[in-house]
C-alpha cells in the first residue's frame, strides 16, 4: 500500500514520546549521511574550540600579548619564522590567531544560534497564528514582516550599534533576531496553511482541542525535522549577518570573534601584505562551519521530506 509506505518514511520515531513501539532501525531516516557528516564535523570544531580554550592561553587574544606579524609555524614572513609558541601566527597587534579562533568560533556560532532560536520562536508563533487563524491576524503579521523587510538592514544595524555600542552576547543575538524571524514566519505560515485541512486536525477539533493545542500539539510535532532545518539554516544566516556586520566594523569589539578578526585584517590590508593566515584561517573556518550547517540543513530536509532522499 502506497500510503503506508509514505507514512512509514516520515521518520518521527525518534522524536516520539516513550511508550510507542520503536520502528526497526533499518529504515531510520535520521541515519542520513549528510546530516551525520555535517553534525560530526561541526561537533568536532566546537569541541576543539572548547577543549582548546582549556589548554591554550586565552589571554593571547589581548593586544600586545604576542610578537607582531608572526607567520604560522614553519613559514617565513619578513625575517620572522613561525614557531610552535604561536602555531597559527599572530596579527599586527600581537594577538595570537589560534587563541582568536578558539575564542571567536564558539562566540560567533553561539550568537548565530541564539538569534536563530529567537527568530524561529517568533517565526513559529507568528507563522502558526497567521496560517491557522488567518484573517486580521494574518494581515497584521504580514504587515509587520513586510515593513521590517523594507527597511535597509544597514540603517538599523548602524543605529543600534550607536545606541548600544558594546552589545554583549545576548544583545547582539537579539539584534540579529530582528532579521531572523521573517523567513521562518513566511515558510511556517505556508506549511500551516497546507496542514490546516489535514484530517487529524479535524479529529482534534472534534475531540474538543482548543486552537493553541491543535497548533502546537498536533501540527508542530510533525514539523519537527523541518523546524530543526529552519534552525540550522537560520543559524548560518545569522552567523553570516553577524560576520558581515563585524567586517563592517559595526560589531562589538569587546569579545574577539571571527568577524572582528576579519575586519582587522581587511583594515590592515592583510591580503596586500601577504599575511594570508590572518584572513585565510578565519575565512576557512567560516566556510567549513557554513558547509556543515548546509549539510545538516539539507540532511534534515531529507528527513522531514522523504521525497528529497536519493533513490
Amino acid at each position: 500500500m502506497k500510503k503506508t509506505d509514505f507514512v512509514e518514511n516520515t521518520g518521527v520515531e525518534v522524536l516520539a514520546e516513550d511508550g510507542c513501539k520503536k520502528r526497526p532501525p533499518k529504515d531510520n531516516p535520521w541515519k542520513n549521511s549528510r546530516l551525520i557528516i555535517g553534525t560530526i564535523i561541526l561537533g568536532i570544531l566546537i569541541i576543539i574550540a572548547f577543549v582548546g580554550q582549556l589548554f591554550w592561553d586565552k589571554t593571547l587574544v589581548n593586544v600586545g600579548s604576542s610578537p607582531l606579524n608572526l607567520p604560522p609555524v614553519g613559514n617565513e614572513y619578513r625575517d620572522q619564522i613561525g614557531n610552535w609558541a604561536h602555531p597559527l601566527g599572530t596579527d599586527n597587534s600581537g594577538r595570537d590567531i589560534l587563541a582568536l579562533v578558539l575564542v571567536g568560533l564558539p562566540h560567533s556560532l553561539g550568537i548565530g544560534f541564539v538569534s536563530a532560536t529567537i527568530g524561529l520562536t517568533i517565526g513559529i508563533i507568528f507563522g502558526f497564528s497567521a496560517g491557522y487563524l488567518g484573517g486580521r491576524v494574518d494581515d497584521v503579521i504580514r504587515l509587520l514582516s513586510d515593513t521590517t523587510m523594507n527597511i535597509p538592514a544597514l540603517l538599523i544595524l548602524i543605529i543600534i550599534q550607536s545606541l548600544i555600542p558594546n552589545a554583549g552576547f545576548f544583545a547582539m543575538a537579539l539584534l540579529l533576531a530582528v532579521f531572523a524571524w521573517q523567513s521562518p514566519t513566511r515558510v511556517l505560515r505556508a506549511q500551516v496553511l497546507s496542514m490546516k485541512h489535514a484530517d487529524y486536525v479535524k479529529l482534534a477539533q472534534l475531540s474538543g482541542s482548543p486552537d493553541q493545542e491543535i497548533m502546537f500539539k498536533e501540527m508542530m510535532p510533525n514539523l519537527m525535522p523541518f523546524l530543526i532545518s529552519q534552525l540550522t539554516a537560520g543559524t548560518s544566516y545569522s552567523v553570516l549577518i553577524l560576520v558581515g556586520v563585524e567586517v563592517l566594523g559595526l560589531g562589538s569589539q569587546k569579545i574577539p570573534s571571527l568577524g572582528i578578526t576579519l575586519n582587522n585584517a581587511i583594515n590592515a590590508s592583510a591580503i596586500l601584505r601577504g599575511m594570508w593566515w590572518w584572513w585565510g584561517i578565519p575565512t576557512i573556518i567560516l566556510i567549513v562551519v557554513f558547509m556543515c550547517l548546509l549539510l545538516i540543513t539539507v540532511g534534515l530536509d531529507e528527513v522531514s521530506n522523504p521525497r528529497l532522499r536519493d533513490h
Binding site: 494581515d139 504580514r142 504587515l143 513586510d146 515593513t147 523587510m149 523594507n150 527597511i151 535597509p152 538592514a153 544597514l154 540603517l155 538599523i156 548602524i158 543605529i159 550607536s162 545606541l163 513566511r186 548560518s236 553570516l240 560576520v243 558581515g244 567586517v247 563592517l248 568577524g259 576579519l262 581587511i266 591580503i271 596586500l272 584572513w279 575565512t283 567560516l286 566556510i287 562551519v289 557554513f290 558547509m291 548546509l294 549539510l295 540543513t297 539539507v298 530536509d301 521530506n305 521525497r307 528529497l308 536519493d310 533513490h311
Partner: protein
C-alpha cells in the same frame, strides 16, 4: 476558482500603502534615533579634520534653521510625509546645496543596472542550478559538485569582493581596480562606452552574484523536490512523459512563481547588500550614497534612499501578489 477580484486587489493595495506608511515612519524615527545632531557632528568633524573654523557655532545654527531642524518633531514629521509623497526630498545636509533628487538621479541608474543584471543572472542561473540540484535524476556526482559552488555564500560580500579584486584586477590585471567606465570614452550609445561599462561592472556583478546565488539555488532545490512529489507530477510520470520534459514543464514552471516572490522580497536586501561591494569597487551607485548618508546622519538622503528601496521592494511584492491569481488559477482568494 476566483482569480483576481476587486476585493482582493483593494485589500492588497491597502496593505501595500500601510506598509509604506509604517516603513517611512520607522525610517523617520530610526534615523533620528542616533545620538547627536547631524549638523553639529558634521561641522565638528570638519573642524577636526581641516583645522579650527572660527564662527562655527554661527554656521551650525544657520544650517539647523535652514534645514528646519529647529522645528518641533511633529511638524518635521508632517512636512516629511507631505514631501515624501510628492517625491520632494529637499537638499542634502552634508552636500548642501546639492538636491537629494539629483544625487539619486546620478546614482540610481548605476545601482539599478548592477542590481538588475545580478538579479536577472541570479534568477536564471540560481533557479537553473537549483532545479538540477533538486531533480531526482541528476547524477550523484553533479549533486556533489553543486554545494561547492556555495562556498562564496559563506563569506561576507566584502571579503568576496576583495578576493576577486585581488585576483582578477591586482594579480591578473584583467579588470580595472575601480570606477564604472573608462574616462577616455564618451558616454552614450557607442560600443567603447558599453564595452567599458561591462568591463568595469564585471567584478562588482560577480561579487554580488557569488555571494547571493546560493540562497536561490537552495530555495529552488527545495521547491523542485517538493513539487516533484506533487500529484500532478506523479500523474505526468504515470503518463510516461519524459523526465526532463516533466522537470521543465511541470516542476520548474510551478516552482518559479514562489521563487519570484522570494526574489521580490529579497530585492531590498540585494540592493543594500550591494552597498559594500560598491564602495570596494568605488562604483558610483546608491550604495555609497546610503552608506555615507547613514554615517553622516544626512536625514534627507537617508529618507529618500530608503524610500526608494521601500518602494522598489514593496511594489514588486505587490505586483507579484496581484499577478499571482492571474498567472496561477489554482491560487484563489475567496472567503472559503
Amino acid at each position: 476558482m476566483n482569480g483576481l477580484t476587486w476585493k482582493y486587489a483593494l485589500h492588497r493595495i491597502g496593505i501595500y500603502l500601510l506598509t509604506i506608511l509604517i516603513s517611512i515612519t520607522l525610517i523617520f524615527v530610526i534615523s533620528r534615533a542616533v545620538p547627536g545632531d547631524p549638523i553639529e557632528n558634521m561641522w565638528r568633524q570638519l573642524e577636526m579634520q581641516k583645522g579650527q573654523i572660527e564662527g562655527v557655532d554661527l554656521i551650525i545654527d544657520h544650517y539647523k534653521e535652514l534645514f528646519g531642524l529647529n522645528e518641533p518633531i511633529g511638524i518635521q514629521y508632517l512636512k516629511y510625509l507631505w514631501n515624501t509623497v510628492r517625491f520632494e526630498f529637499g537638499v542634502s545636509f552634508v552636500h548642501y546645496p546639492t538636491s537629494v533628487s539629483s544625487m539619486i538621479g546620478h546614482a540610481l541608474p548605476w545601482t539599478l543596472g548592477l542590481g538588475l543584471i545580478t538579479t536577472l543572472i541570479i534568477f536564471i542561473f540560481g533557479n537553473g542550478i537549483g532545479a538540477v540540484f533538486g531533480w531526482e535524476r541528476t547524477p550523484k556526482f553533479i549533486k556533489t559538485i553543486i554545494p561547492s559552488s556555495l562556498i562564496f555564500t559563506s563569506i561576507p560580500s566584502v571579503l568576496a569582493a576583495l578576493f576577486l579584486l585581488s585576483i582578477f584586477s591586482k594579480n591578473l590585471g584583467w579588470f580595472p581596480l575601480a570606477g564604472a567606465y573608462n574616462s577616455n570614452v564618451t558616454q552614450g550609445w557607442n560600443w567603447p562606452y558599453i564595452a567599458s561599462v561591462i568591463k568595469y561592472g564585471f567584478l562588482p556583478v560577480l561579487s554580488i552574484l557569488l555571494v547571493n546565488i546560493g540562497w536561490t539555488i537552495l530555495g529552488m532545490r527545495a521547491m523542485v523536490v517538493t513539487i516533484g512529489g506533487a500529484d500532478y507530477v506523479r500523474l505526468a510520470q504515470a503518463k510516461g512523459l519524459k523526465p526532463f520534459y516533466i522537470l521543465k514543464k511541470y516542476t520548474v514552471r510551478n516552482a518559479l512563481l514562489p521563487q519570484l516572490t522570494s526574489l521580490a522580497l529579497s530585492l531590498g536586501g540585494l540592493i543594500s547588500g550591494q552597498v559594500l561591494v560598491e564602495s570596494i569597487f568605488s562604483y558610483p551607485g546608491m550604495g555609497m550614497l546610503i552608506f555615507r548618508a547613514i554615517r553622516e546622519q544626512d536625514f534627507n538622503v537617508i529618507q529618500a534612499t530608503s524610500y526608494m528601496f521601500i518602494l522598489i521592494t514593496a511594489t514588486s511584492v505587490l505586483l507579484i501578489d496581484l499577478l499571482y491569481p492571474l498567472i496561477d488559477p489554482r491560487i484563489t482568494h475567496g472567503e472559503d
